[in-house]
Symmetry: C2
Subunit: 486 residues, 2 copies
Amino acid sequence: MDWLSELRPIFYPRTLAVVGVSKDEAKFGSLFLRALLNFGFKGRIYPVHPEGGEILGLKAYPSVGDIPEPVDLAAIMVPAPHVAAVLEDCLAKGVPGAEVFTSGFAETGDERAAALERELASIARRGIRIVGPNCFGIYCPGGGLTLLPGGNFQRESGPVGFITQSGGHAVEFAREGRGRGIRFSQVISYGNGCDLNESDLLEYMAQDDETRIIAMYMEGPRDGRRFARLVKELAPRKPVVIWKAGLTRTGGRAVRSHTASLAGEEAVWGSFFRQTAAVPVRDLEELGDTVLALMHLPPTTGRRVGVVAGGGGLSVAAADLCDRLGLEVPSFDDGAQDKLREAIPAAGTSLRNPLDMGVPLVMAPIFERVLETVAADQHIETIIATQGMFHVLGGTFGPPPELRERFLQTLVEVPGRVRDRFGKPIVIVLPVDGDEVEMIEAEEGRRKIRDQYLSMGIPSYPTLERAARAVANVAAYYAKTGRGSR
Amino acid sequence: MDWLSELRPIFYPRTLAVVGVSKDEAKFGSLFLRALLNFGFKGRIYPVHPEGGEILGLKAYPSVGDIPEPVDLAAIMVPAPHVAAVLEDCLAKGVPGAEVFTSGFAETGDERAAALERELASIARRGIRIVGPNCFGIYCPGGGLTLLPGGNFQRESGPVGFITQSGGHAVEFAREGRGRGIRFSQVISYGNGCDLNESDLLEYMAQDDETRIIAMYMEGPRDGRRFARLVKELAPRKPVVIWKAGLTRTGGRAVRSHTASLAGEEAVWGSFFRQTAAVPVRDLEELGDTVLALMHLPPTTGRRVGVVAGGGGLSVAAADLCDRLGLEVPSFDDGAQDKLREAIPAAGTSLRNPLDMGVPLVMAPIFERVLETVAADQHIETIIATQGMFHVLGGTFGPPPELRERFLQTLVEVPGRVRDRFGKPIVIVLPVDGDEVEMIEAEEGRRKIRDQYLSMGIPSYPTLERAARAVANVAAYYAKTGRGSR
């Protein structure tokens, strides 16, 4: 099926009907309308309200049929019993797609509500594609389309597609992604998935060239066999990162009342992940961390890591952590230790891997020699380096105030240079530097440094654990797909 | 042994000799001296330098023996081969204790260096107690004593004692604790532990009434049998939280070169944790999270939790998480669901436990009715509630600007009131709200709200996982010690 022709007009609509918008500006319909306007939807918006009139400065029409031009997408938020009638109007007008935000369908567990949902599905089969019901809809920056609380989402598009059954996670991931340099082609919250389900949306994203990485939050697929077949075929060429929720007993129970899904069994999903190249993650944080790593780390990213840390305790923690995550921490070459001893005046007791630099922050030339030595080591495939306690720059240990900015800039340029020279991926850990109200400037500075790293294509994480886990996930993906170095 | 008489004069010294301080103000000795002065050491400080003279405005003496009054503690940072001679001087003068920062002893793996360390130990047996070598020393706010990079550490004392083999972790925990409301009686970085080891320090903290909670970072105990016996006896009456590092193959290797310790085997330590009430944690973050929970949560804290979340996806995630952590999420009483449906206008689809409030932030009266209903449920022992996206207060969804502050204050007072009325512990999750440079004000606001909660004795965590893990650890501790409700 040509999903691009089928769905692109819906995700990039020129005209949009918003059905169920009230004149009360505090109600969902108006808020959604306002979010769209804030976000900067470029096409024409037609509010639909039985009494017509004007809403937020836009002329309202009594029904979809009254709108004076073709409509590409209808956003529907009328109460559950009225959704079918609106969809019939849309069908009559030839509207190709709808996002149904309304909840109160199969997820309630009520048979009459489930029957209402089956009715929507049968209308869909007559010629209109439905996202939802019980969802937050579509965020597609390229199409100027956003979710209800998404008036200030990132307007720039990017390589990540997110397919999610949870609207809350759609909002959270889009928001969090904004700060972390993750840019989206589409985020689609599809809720109960009465028509378009995870497999349909996955096929669409498989065909969409803008989408290079697919992230999914799933409670239960509508058609597990089709989904498994699709992922098996797709994942080797386009990474698919999946947070499968509800696999515990308690979680499975929660899933039924959230999106009326059957969560399935842990064993079944375990074998799914073994048999495909899909990357399993366990929460939204790991989903974002892994996607970020996939955006920037090349197929040569391997699980043999060189860890550069400041402090002996930290290097022990790093060793334990890497071992638990299945990363290897090979010993450095014979010559490397001597070079390191020479390079680091404040060296701690371990010049082995993980390397203890002795202090959490060193001057740029030292940092460069250390990274070079580690990168030159033939046993090392990927480098994880920590940089901490930037506040010391302002203290006794730091350079004089007038040199601070320069010190920092020189330091931040090091990892990109070493990566380019040796062709080895580098990930930087930037821990939150104190967690006090009074340290808020340090946190602002940390975020700026992180953004600089991101702009150079260097993924950065606030903890070693999150960095190591993201590297482990990406290395496992490349190892499985045979795109890696070995 | 009466450890209080033995060690208190050392931790609360009236006079302090700093041996190995150079006239170069960028060297460790001067930096340490400056940290002490900044921190506000109340006693008299005597720098020791072969040439005498003046250092940072203090009169220096050629040797410890030349100091004109009794010395309680010597801080020693001369090179490794000279440490023994300084200790002999101290012994001759009757100095009761020393902290030896110098490294280059057994941790190097070199036999001559190990012999030097044995020499220190044998001097100690002749009548001086040694912390170190290869350590960062003692942070004891009550005694005005701080670590090298601890000039601006928290000056207020508190109930937490931290015994750590890693100086880096000592600094990190003391710094992090400051922002998180964790207050310390002592933090003792004891490095190679040639004289005072983890068991000695543990006995001291067992006898010290100010210390109510003991945290430990350990690479390998000097005398495992004694340590196990002590913990077994102590933990039921004073919680001991232990981060045992180096239990993986890679970690064990790192431990040997860090503090010359034998890490031991995972199975042995597993049985240690089963046979004692010590609380095992896996990293510094979990150590802090658990200590914070122990500071505030009562012995009735149990593993049957009521989770209040905003968003269906979040409640599914909470269910999975609790299940994995061994927390129970019992169904609410029959009447509770009706009450909740009444209380929450924006209710999501799940009025079960974990509860989906539909939105991440609700008004104070709604939040109060929700917490009351959950607290009144006889199956629930502990409540974990999330509050997110405070930035919406400034947006379309929020109250008018002039009411914002009032809205927030009213909201923050709710959990404490419900806790007091129903006698059930409450933990609050306050997620970081966007991670962008532009959102830094939101982060500042979040930290302020967290501090308000802390001042009311309500522990707060940035993620549900960290909150749930801390609750699980504390509930397990109280269940094991029979201090819990069941």
